[in-house]
Amino acid sequence: MKKAAILAAFLFVGAFLLLAATSMRPFGEPTFAGMDDYFIANTQIEVAANNAVTAVVFDYRGFDTLGEATVLFAAVVGVLALFRKLREDEA
């Protein structure tokens, strides 16, 4: 029963993913590139940076990068917390 449910879930998700992938647009031909063309056109003017990816990472979508830095920070804090020195009554 449980095995059948897991198999069904796996097949369902797999079929779903393949359906999505096969109905995607062709590779290498983005249909809407307005936002990215703006980045490429304006990175040297607005941000004064040659590297458009860095301009997106730290300027246009800088808040995401703050979140990303936060994720890494959370992982470091979490790992340090797990391996911390325990008090004697806690072991």
């Binding site: 040297q44 004064a48 040659n50 990816v53 860095t54 300027d59 703050l66 830095a69 920070f73 470091v76």
Partner: protein, 157 residues
């Protein structure tokens, strides 16, 4: 335990370690001009630390790399990044105040289009690269050290 690996590995590590550090800092420093940036460069530097750890073992680096010091540095990096976000709050959070301002890193990029790269440009971008680079290198190094020492304890018990 914790004595590290053979002499061959240690010798090569001594050679490669410095190069990896230099390359990592180069990637961080030129993040706004060439492929790379704070995260990538920080990861390279952290991998140099990890190499050291693998080659010499936890005992071999004792006193040189300390998880608490690394953690403190990581917090400083994170706070610096957040502070750089706050710098532009007069206009909006994360506003790039320094770009094209004429001050530090405030130069314009000339000529537009393909060029050799202007180092003194990008506004807060280079500073953010440094903050994130510091954060990533120390954060990953701290995780690797703590996990290695913790897992080693496992084996000896």
């Amino acid at each position: 335990m914790n004595t590290g690996m053979s002499i061959i590995v240690r010798t090569i590590t001594r050679l490669v370690y410095g190069l990896a550090l230099v390359f990592g800092f180069y990637v961080i420093m030129h993040g706004h001009l060439t492929p790379g940036g704070g995260f990538q460069g920080g990861a390279v530097v952290a991998s140099a630390f990890a190499l050291l750890l693998v080659a010499f073992g936890a005992a071999g680096i004792k006193g040189r790399l300390n998880a608490h010091l690394l953690q403190t540095l990581e917090e400083i990096g994170a706070l610096a990044f957040l502070a750089l976000g706050f710098v532009g709050i007069g206009t909006a959070f994360f506003y790039n105040l320094l770009a094209n301002s004429g001050s530090l890193f405030g130069g314009p990029v000339l000529p537009l289009g393909s060029n050799a790269g202007v180092f003194d440009a990008g506004g807060t971008l280079p500073l953010m690269n440094w903050a994130v680079g510091l954060k990533v290198m120390t954060g990953i190094a701290a995780v690797v050290i703590v996990m290695l020492i913790g897992a080693r304890k496992e084996e000896t018990e």
